[in-house]
């Protein structure tokens, strides 16, 4: 098997008000099912050593954890090369239980936006209140980024991680780069 290649092969934008870079491939698994059901929470715990996240929240730290996508769906993050084993483990743990587990590691692209103005860069593209008071660590938000769907959370006070569809990677990277261009600081956060 060849070396897996991320959508933009690790693109980087620097020199603006915030830095933007593509995050290396990550294991991502979509799990759909009754999130309240013990079978499911147990299965999740077994592969994550963590709980099913609460609505609108994520348990992701570094490149592991889960994020709440909708009342019957979570997104599980793990190392890229652990995706298939995690998938298998989940399927095993959920055998005979009505749930859907699929590997979407290759269907996505991830970026980080970092720097004190990161909230403002994101605020140029997403119709979300990103003031420090309103958007805090541990929140997970699915929304619109300019003209495409995206989801993001805070890695630290001034770093966002953004997930989008793989085919949109270049567009999203370009958007974030334009929004980070020099001289475009807003100065409200």
């Amino acid at each position: 098997m060849s070396e897996p290649v991320a959508a933009l092969n690790g693109a980087i934008f620097a020199g603006g008000i915030a830095d933007v870079w593509e995050v290396p491939l990550q294991g991502m698994i979509t799990l759909r099912g009754d999130l309240a059901n013990a079978r499911l929470t147990k299965a999740v715990a077994s592969v994550l050593s963590g709980k099913v996240p609460q609505p609108g929240r994520t348990t992701i730290t570094a490149d592991r954890g889960a994020a709440w996508m909708s009342p019957d769906e979570i997104l599980i993050l793990c190392a890229y090369d652990e995706a298939s084993s995690t998938l298998a483990a989940l399927e095993k743990a959920l055998d005979g239980f009505h749930a859907l587990v699929v590997n979407v590691s290759d269907a996505r692209a991830s970026f980080r936006v970092s720097g004190p103005p990161a909230r403002e860069v994101m605020g140029k593209l997403c119709p979300v209140d990103l003031s420090p008071a309103a958007f805090t660590s541990g929140m997970f938000r699915r929304t619109r980024m300019a003209q495409v769907p995206a989801a993001f959370w805070l890695c630290d006070d001034d770093t966002f991680q953004v997930i989008c569809f793989r085919s949109h990677a270049q567009y999203v990277f370009d958007l974030l780069s334009v929004a980070s261009q020099g001289g475009s600081g807003v100065g409200v956060y």
Partner: protein
């Protein structure tokens, strides 16, 4: 003449001179100047020509309401027409040219229109230019268009960038005058998130020009202190050069921030359009002074009284050296005082108020030795390109001249109108205030928000409070009310107290003199830019254009770039007088966003060039680009239409790709095809509803071609469904269908069959998919090595998981070309590697990549339908002879009931057939087959149309598919397709399968 004084000019930095050009002539001004103030400082009183009569025009105002001072500004990629001189901050190197004249500003041929003014009253063009018919397009209209319009059209692409920004606050306060500042100060105490925006570069608005005392201090100090206090607060955001452009539903406000218009070329976006969502909005947008309607009130030098004051105090510029003040209220006296105190001559104040007694202001004027002529008015203004004097008459009467006064400027004031635009944008209603003769917001009829709550409060002059003390009180009260609206309490605290100046009441004066005869009325301007005069509005009324909307549209009053900021109320008053109806019953006009024009660039935001729209790429995109791909947009995807080799014409490339795929081996990037996982105990039942076919009977390991219809019966998508296991299917959709069909499935599962146990997931982008097509397909895959792809191990319409060349893949044995064909799916991150490996392995077997056009031809040769070609949203499967794919056993599926409707079962529906031109030529795309005669509307009867038509390199002839009346029953018949260039194409109706009718090749 207008000139700059050695002293004064609170906004100027006289240390820093700036240089600019106007009509090529070099001028200089100071930092802090506007283009208007610096032009006036250089005695450039003539700034433009009016829209209709090309009359010479000068600056009449000092702010956003200016109707005359519009210029072409900048060069090349930074050229922009219609820039308002009164709001353009001067910068070094600014270049401006005046507009709407030929050959020059001083001498304009178009002024002939002015001589003809009597023949060109309101709506004249509705009554003329009717005969002869062709003349309108070829003679009249071109002339009218040429003489109309204002600035030049930009020629080069915009050199600047723009952006948007989403902002959220509890309280948005619009307007940085003392009302806005005080409102912010009060509101900030509540702890709410407050934002205060000001359209100019300066805080304090009019008050700092007009002066006055607050808490015993000059108002300037109050402004300075308040700004400093607010800036220090964490819960307050202050922005200057940012206009509240529009108020929209549910507390949505557009903020138009001009970041670099005053320092063009510096790094960063030029404008930022803020999309602000506010819990509540306070508009503290002030008031605008009204002109007076007298003959010659448009001669350069006739200026709003407050503007005269602004230029003097803010910029040390006097418009005239001898200025007559004409007014119907006390405020204009301040202009007389300011001029007089600056050592300029004020020969007289014409106070039109007939009942004017001994007022405080009058005494202060006379104390200065200024003559106050009570009950007097301007009969007419002398001078053409600038004022040389005025004729005085009584306000009562028809305008008999009592004396003439030489002067070089006239400062006029007809009273003030609150700026209620933002209040009105989203439905706020107005009430007429007879005492002050203006419309003010009706607080009981505020715009309402998402919960039905009022979400706009008006404060200060915008709310009708015109005096310093009243403004501060009103602002404080407004802020409290606004904060309360969003659940914030503000503890009582003493609000600043301003010293009161006694003012005598204003007397409405809508026409000067009151009984002015028509000669004067037809020289008394209401709308300067659009050249609408008192006589025009009166004519509209006379002709029955009684509603304000009719009158405005008939006369074009208030339709110019200033949107009637100066003219609306004056025009309305004239109309109401002409109709003998009180003003409130005559109506008001609707205010539409934006408050002043905003750049299209800002509205477009970042969406230009590369990020105009998302462009979706497959993992192999760059490889295609590097190998001559000629792209075809499919939705937001780009797919190679063909891979063009050096020296090849596009159609040659397509033919080469088709032939090579038939003879050797072709590779197609099929990654864009939709792939949707459907899983659950009820998945079979669900897919039986989604597809017209029976999917529940499909065996794991097998594939089946399926059709999807809308509930309205029409074919919306097709694709191969693979059953992965008892409870799991993978459904392929068309490229355009992936998201659409995924959402279609979700919709039915969530809103109709929510008790069914089914989950779906769109995994389209998880996989790169490569179609390996042609007689050598199997050999190429075997060369890669890995899974068994023999006929026995992987039969036609079967799929299997395995490895190929070390790649973990899923191989589908399906064919859209009629050839031996495999579709190989691999994780997207390995897509490019697999593609390259296949090219490498295929080299020995004559592999070539092929694009979408070859794909179309290959399928057309086989008579396979294509969604979007054979279907167009009006076609049902039965039309396409796909009855075999419509389950008769199923009681129900989406579209079944619809397909039973009268018109759907009509035997007259056109049906799919193949078409072979007798000559072998290719029938043009979209051609129709003609029948006999014409229909009731005289249109030629048609009996069919082409849906797909190509040159088939395989058969070396034109082939086509089409929908034809009774088609399947007319095999062998010849029908005619007229082209658009005269030629007619005769074609024989044949079976749509042109190639390998037995289907042996795909089955080997």
């Amino acid at each position: 003449m207008s000139k700059r004084h050695s002293t004064g000019g609170r906004l100027l930095n006289r240390e820093k001179a700036l240089h600019f050009t106007f009509n090529g002539q070099k001028f200089s001004g100071y930092e802090g100047d506007t283009l208007a103030s610096s032009l006036l400082a250089n005695d450039q009183m003539l700034v433009g020509r009016s829209f209709k009569y090309h009359r010479p025009r000068g600056v009449v105002a000092a702010g956003a309401e200016e109707p005359n001072g519009l210029v072409n500004m900048g060069e090349g990629g930074r050229f922009e027409p219609n820039q308002r001189v009164t709001t353009t901050e001067l910068f070094d190197g600014l270049t401006a040219r005046s507009q709407n004249h030929w050959p020059s500003l001083e001498f304009d041929i178009g002024v002939v229109n002015s001589r003809l003014a009597r023949f060109l009253p309101a709506g004249f063009y509705y009554k003329m230019f009717i005969h002869p018919r062709p003349f309108w397009k070829y003679i009249y209209e071109p002339f009218i268009r040429q003489s109309a319009g204002l600035g030049q059209a930009p020629k080069e692409p915009d050199a600047d960038t723009y952006e948007h920004f989403y902002h959220f606050c509890d309280l948005l306060i619009i307007g940085g005058g003392i009302a806005g500042l005080q409102a912010a100060k009060t509101a900030a105490k509540s702890g709410a998130r407050v934002m205060l925006i000001e359209q100019t570069g300066h805080w304090g608005g009019r008050a700092v020009v007009d002066g006055g005392m607050v808490d015993g201090d000059p108002v300037d100090n109050y402004v300075e202190q308040t700004v400093a206090e607010l800036a220090a607060l964490d819960n307050v955001t202050l922005r200057t050069r940012m206009m509240g452009a529009g108020v929209y539903d549910h507390g949505y406000v557009l903020g138009y921030e001009q970041l670099r218009d005053h320092l063009p070329g510096s790094m960063g976006p030029r404008h930022r359009l803020w999309r602000i969502r506010a819990g509540h909005i306070v508009t503290a947008t002030g008031a605008i002074e009204r002109p007076l309607s007298f003959a010659g009130n448009d001669v350069p030098g006739v200026t709003l009284a407050a503007a005269v004051r602004d230029y003097l105090v803010n910029y040390g510029v006097s418009i005239g050296q001898r200025t007559v003040v004409v007014t119907n209220n006390d405020d204009a006296y301040r202009t007389a005082f300011a001029l007089h105190d600056a050592g300029l001559s004020v020969p007289a104040i014409l106070d039109a108020r007939t009942g004017l007694g001994k007022t405080d202001m009058r005494e202060r004027a006379e104390a200065r030795g200024i003559t106050v002529m009570a009950g007097h008015a301007v009969a007419s203004v002398k001078g053409g390109k600038r004022v040389t004097g005025i004729a005085v008459c009584k306000q009562e009467g028809a305008g008999a001249v009592v004396q003439e006064i030489a002067c070089d400027a006239v400062a006029m004031s007809g009273g003030w109108s609150p700026v209620v635009h933002l209040w009105s944008h989203c439905g706020g209603k107005l009430q007429w205030d007879a005492d002050h003769a203006f419309f003010r917001p009706d607080a009981d009829k505020a715009p309402t928000g998402d919960a039905g709550q009022p979400f706009v409060t008006v404060a200060g002059a915008a709310n009708g409070a015109l005096k310093l003390a009243d403004i501060l009180e009103d602002a404080d009260a407004g802020a409290r009310a606004a904060a309360a609206q969003i659940g914030h309490k503000i503890r009582k605290s003493k609000s600043p107290v301003a010293q009161r100046e006694e003012e005598a009441p204003l007397e409405p004066v809508w026409l000067m003199p009151a009984e002015a005869e028509v000669k004067l009325r037809s020289k008394a301007w209401l709308d300067y830019q659009n050249d609408v005069k008192v006589s025009d509005v009166q004519l509209a009324a006379q002709e029955g254009f009684e509603s304000v909307e009719h009158a405005k549209r008939y006369t074009t009053l208030g339709m110019a770039t200033d949107q009637g900021k100066l003219s609306n109320i004056n025009g309305l008053a004239i109309l109401s007088d002409a109709l003998g109806r009180p003003i409130p019953q005559t109506g008001t006009t609707t205010f539409r966003p934006p408050y002043t024009p905003i750049s299209m660039g800002a509205i477009g935001g970042e969406a230009r060039g590369e990020v105009f729209q998302p462009l979706r790429r497959t993992p192999m995109h760059d490889w295609h680009a590097a190998h001559g791909a000629d792209w075809e947009p499919v939705g937001h995807w780009r797919r190679p239409y063909a891979f063009v080799r050096d020296g090849e014409r596009l159609k040659d490339s397509v033919n080469r790709e088709v032939l090579n795929t038939r003879r050797n081996l072709g590779l197609l990037d099929a990654s864009t095809l939709g792939k949707i996982i459907v899983k659950g105990p009820d998945a079979p039942k669900f897919l039986d509803m989604m597809y017209t076919n029976m999917m529940s009977t499909l065996k794991p390991g097998k594939c089946r071609y399926g059709l999807m219809c809308s509930e309205n019966g029409f074919l919306i998508d097709d694709g191969v469904v693979a059953r992965l296991d008892e409870q799991t299917y993978l459904c392929h959709t068309t490229t355009g269908g992936a998201e659409r069909i995924h959402q279609h499935m979700e919709e039915w599962l969530q809103t109709e069959w929510w008790d069914w146990q089914v989950y779906v997931a769109n995994v389209t982008e998880q996989y790169a998919q490569v179609a390996v097509v042609g007689p050598n397909a199997r050999r190429a895959l075997e060369k890669l090595g890995g899974m068994d792809v023999s006929k026995e191990a992987l039969g036609f319409m079967e799929w299997a998981d395995g490895t190929l060349g070390g790649f973990k893949v899923r191989a589908y044995r399906i064919s859209f070309s009629g050839e031996l064909s495999y579709e190989i799916a691999v994780d997207a991150s390995h897509g490019l590697a697999l593609w390259e490996k296949l090219m490498e392995a295929g080299a020995a077997f004559g592999v070539m990549p092929y694009g979408t056009e070859a794909l179309h031809i290959l399928r057309a040769e086989k008579g396979f339908i294509m969604i979007g070609d054979e279907t167009d949203g009006t076609v049902i499967p039965q039309d396409l002879g796909l009855d075999w794919a419509i389950s008769k056993k199923k009681e129900d599926f989406l579209g079944k009931r619809a397909q039973a409707r009268r018109h759907m079962t009509d035997p007259k529906r056109w049906k799919l057939v193949g078409l072979e031109t007798l000559s072998g030529a290719v029938i043009p795309d979209g051609a129709y087959a003609i029948g006999e005669g014409t229909n009731a509307n005289g249109q030629r009867n048609v009996i069919g149309r082409v849906t797909s038509t190509y040159y088939s390199p395989t058969l070396d002839r034109g082939i086509a598919m089409g929908l034809v009346l009774y088609g399947p029953d007319r095999m062998g018949e010849v029908i005619s397709f007229p082209g658009t260039e005269g030629a007619t194409f005769k074609a024989r109706i044949v079976d749509p399968v042109f190639y390998d009718k037995e289907g042996e090749k795909q089955n080997v």
